[in-house]
């Protein structure tokens, strides 16, 4: 939490000052004198792997491991995941054409507009109360409990409506610091609010990637083999970076059928801020690398880039890189997404590149898939409590971060109970003392996990209502149904009883009470997930994929390589769209974030490893008026394990955007643009270097 002896990244906290007022703490902090002895700096994952590179963690072998990770002591490797599928020799023999690509995607920031903050208070009884703007209240509870030896039930964590997070607030950071600050002042409530600058570089950031891909293909355009090396920039410490590098391995091929795969996906320590989960969890990065290779290969084979993708799209009957059998339910329908994308961007009715004077218009495309890479015990609970007027309180652990999960959950419950949504109350807060758990609000999993728990809780409540009504109506429960605020006889819907009359027990004609409050409960854990085999990577890391196809149209000014993003399109197999407006909004929001990431966002370091752009004045984000015209369409192939067949959609709009933008700009300029971000300056440099 606080550096001892050695500081490994710019922004790493070395001391914590607690004071009555923020300005007093600031004045006191300015009086702390620290002497630093400069150490050699490791600037990139590629540099970190050199034989003569300094070790960032000398005692890596002694570290305790929490999850399935494979650090390599004596090196800067924090984790290595191996994928070995098929027969590489055979694959390369079939490959008449090969291409090789090297790409770089730098670290960047989540940049939620609300910075991270938390409050900790330790009561004399030992009860600890944490308020935090977090995606992981139940993980905070566990971490505080385990780290400070407090019984789990004595740790109470509250999360409010969170002001954006995008993965960045799933990491535990300010909570532990606030706890030690509170314990330093006898348990008084201490609030820790990160200023923007610290939120950007002290707290964990978006992961970077250096990748090398070799792709082999037959002359007819069938991909036969791939060899992939991912070097993820995990920064100075292993937060989720190590697990993200595993996610980067499990879906390394992108949504294509490739029978012979070798992938080494490494999370590497550098002297950068440390990395944690970011919308897409390793997938925007792997997709940028693979989709650049796919585009180059399509050009070499002489096929239309979308046709080439359609031709090689993965489908039912194939296996994933981790050798999971794929079917319609767990995979969805990528060819359909590609076909629909072609229509909405008028792909076949105009050339990919159009020149008019010094302006060049071009469209780049990409495909993506993503599985959740969740731990085996990821699950959720839900409680449905009936109020005496027949309205319902829904309790669950899904954090609302603007993604609309809680709205979707009330819709799911309303549908199952056959009642109006406005009769269902759900708060925007989570309180671990009263709300049943959700593993974390991450990985586009909440509507699946909590949604399934909600359905079970609804069914439990329906059973109670029917049992109670069966006594009153003198029917068997099987003859009854619940809907419209009533329990009624299926054959004779006119015969029934208002729910409000029985939810707190029913007073019969003699004045006796039967039954009591109706409280439905449900829980759900994803079944059949397995760990990965350390040698081959064989295993099942999530229940389903979400697939999709994306396009970006750009207009490049060939004089100075400035460009305008004209249009951006996504077609995604959402399984089932629960709330069309919010679903579109999630996807366009994610697309916007992906375009920002690809076009301008990156941490810039000086030679000493200090971050130069740690304010929004220098770290530029997309602003009003820069938005292109967005098109979003859905395909609906149900995922049979999920409520109403839905698939995760919260992250996926981002995944293919960097690749599509790079492919579009590469087509427009004729240069291979393999380094992000794609600023006019970086394009100019690449064009002039390649001449």
């Amino acid at each position: 939490m606080l550096a001892i002896d050695k500081v490994r990244y710019f922004g790493e906290p070395i001391a914590l000052v607690v004071a009555e007022k923020e300005y007093i703490a600031e004045m006191a902090a300015l009086r702390i004198k620290a002497d630093y002895e400069p150490l050699p700096v490791v600037h990139s994952p590629s540099e970190a792997l050199r034989k003569d590179s300094p070790l960032i963690h000398e005692h890596l072998a002694k570290y305790k491991k929490h999850e399935q990770v494979y650090p390599e002591p004596g090196t800067n490797i924090a984790n290595r995941t191996r994928i070995r599928k098929g027969n590489m020799e055979e694959g390369w023999n079939k490959s008449e054409i090969t291409v090789e690509v090297q790409v770089t995607m730098p670290q960047s920031d989540h940049a939620a507009i609300e910075t991270r903050c938390s409050t900790a208070e330790i009561m004399p009884s030992g009860k600890t109360i944490i308020h935090s703007t977090s995606q992981s209240p139940y993980i905070i509870r566990m971490a505080i409990s385990q780290s400070f030896h407090i019984p789990l039930h004595q740790v109470i964590v509250h999360t409010p409506l969170v002001g954006g997070s995008f993965g960045g607030k799933s990491a535990i950071y300010t909570e532990l610091l606030a706890f030690i600050a509170s314990s330093a002042v006898g348990g008084r409530a201490v609030r820790l609010v990160l200023p923007r600058e610290q939120d950007m570089v002290s707290a964990p950031v978006h992961i970077g990637l250096d990748a090398r891909i070799k792709l082999g293909c037959t002359r007819e355009g069938k991909i036969a083999a791939t060899e992939i090396l991912h070097l993820f920039d995990g920064g100075a410490y292993s937060d989720r970076g190590a697990v993200m590098s595993r996610a980067g391995a499990t879906d390394c091929t992108g949504p294509y059928r490739i029978d012979n795969v070798q992938c080494d996906s490494l999370c590497v320590y550098t002297n950068h801020p440390y990395s944690t989960s970011f919308r897409g969890f390793g997938h925007p990065e792997l997709t940028f690398a693979m989709e650049r290779a796919i585009d180059l290969m399509a050009a070499r084979v002489g096929m239309d880039p979308l046709e080439f993708r359609f031709h090689n799209a993965i489908g039912p009957g194939d296996t994933s890189p981790t050798q999971t059998d794929l079917n319609k339910s767990n995979l969805g329908d990528l060819p359909m997404c590609i076909a629909k994308l072609k229509e909405i961007i008028y792909w076949d009715s105009r050339p990919q590149v159009q020149t008019s004077g010094h302006l060049v218009k071009a469209t780049g495309v990409s495909c993506f898939w993503k599985n959740s890479n969740t731990p085996l015990n990821a699950g959720a609970g839900a409680v449905v409590i009936f109020n005496s007027d027949g309205s319902v309180n829904l309790l669950c652990g899904a954090v609302e971060i603007g993604q609309g999960t809680r709205t979707a959950l009330t819709q799911i419950l309303a549908e199952r109970l056959g009642m109006e949504e406005r009769r269902i109350h759900i708060s925007t807060d989570v309180d671990t003392e009263t709300d049943p758990w959700l593993w974390k609000t991450v990985a586009s999993r909440s509507t699946l996990l909590s949604g399934n728990a909600v359905l079970k809780a609804a069914d439990d409540a329906i059973e109670q209502l029917k049992n109670m009504a069966s006594i009153i109506l003198e029917r068997t429960p099987d003859e009854l149904a619940v809907g419209g605020g009533r329990v009624f006889v299926i054959e004779h819907p006119g015969i029934g009883i208002e729910i409000a009359q029985i939810v707190d027990g029913y007073k019969d004609s003699t004045g006796n009470m039967i039954g009591g409050q109706v409280i439905g409960r449900g829980s759900y854990t994803m079944p059949d997930l397995t760990l990965l085999d350390p040698e081959t990577g064989k295993g099942k890391t999530g229940p389903e994929w979400t697939v999709g196809a994306q396009a970006v149209e750009v207009e490049v000014n060939k004089r100075d390589y400035s460009y305008r993003i004209v249009k951006a399109a996504t077609v995604m197999d959402a399984g089932k769209v629960i709330n069309p407006e919010m679903a579109r909004s999630q996807i366009t929001g994610a697309m916007s974030m992906g375009l920002g990431l690809a076009s301008r966002e990156a941490f810039l370091f000086d030679p000493n490893g200090a971050v130069l752009d740690l304010q929004f004045r220098t770290y530029k984000l997309m602003r009003y008026g820069e938005q292109p015209e967005y098109s979003v369409e859905f395909v609906e192939t149900p995922h049979l394990e999920a409520p109403y067949g839905l698939r995760g959609i919260g992250e996926h709009g981002l995944i293919g955007m960097p690749a599509a933008l790079a492919n579009g700009l590469s087509a427009a300029t004729g240069a291979s643009l393999n380094r992000l971000p794609l600023t006019p300056e970086s394009i100019w440099r690449t064009v002039h270097d390649s001449v």
Binding site: E114, L161, G164, R196, G402, Q615, F616, R617, Q627
Partner: protein, 186 residues
């Protein structure tokens, strides 16, 4: 040797139509005073550097980033925060068009848009962009915000005239519980 003893100044200003008399530290920003002393937490700290616009309020009708203004500078000024725009048409258009996700930046956008509407009721696309690019939204693609703003500025003339008349009367810049007589006409 610097001292931690704060020096307080007295400050009288008008927030959402209410007269406020406060004692503030010279170095306190308006943002902090509004949030901590007056409990008006609708203006949000996002960068405290004037870059993100989440703390935007109206000062004498014009949008100001409250993190860039010292509280002592507000002496005698009229201020409107999102709390004072409770029934505003701009707010309801943002809600209707779902022009937000997490909502953290939303008060700043609504307040800014309000300021624009009263300063340039006939603002064209370029003017709207010029004003609104001072705020950052990280969740949405700006598409929904754009639609909401368009709906405000392209509202039927008659409808817009009503909004403007009420804006001029200070109807939206006032705490609903506050009586008509105390409203200062701008």
């Amino acid at each position: 040797m610097p001292t931690t003893e704060p020096v307080y100044y007295s400050l009288t200003c008008y927030v959402n139509g209410e007269r406020q008399t406060l004692r503030v530290r010279a170095a306190n920003t308006l943002l902090h005073v509004l949030r901590e002393d007056l409990g008006l937490t609708g203006c949000k700290p996002g960068c405290e550097n004037g870059d993100c616009g989440a703390c935007t309020i109206l000062v004498n009708g014009l949008p100001i980033k409250s993190c860039l203004m010292l509280a002592v500078e507000a002496e005698g000024l009229q201020m409107t925060t999102i709390e004072g725009l409770r029934n505003s048409p701009v707010l309801s258009v943002f809600a209707r068009k779902q022009a937000f996700q997490c909502g953290y930046c939303t008060p700043g956008f609504i307040v800014n848009c309000h300021g624009l509407l009263s300063a340039h009721p006939d603002a064209n696309v370029e003017t709207i962009r010029f004003w609104l690019e001072s705020n950052i939204c990280r969740c949405t693609s700006y598409e929904e915000i754009h639609e909401a703003v368009q709906a405000v500025f392209c509202a039927e003339e008659r409808c817009k005239a009503v909004i403007l008349r009420e804006l001029r009367r200070g109807r939206y810049g006032r705490n609903p519980s506050y009586s008509e007589n105390h409203t200062t006409d701008r």
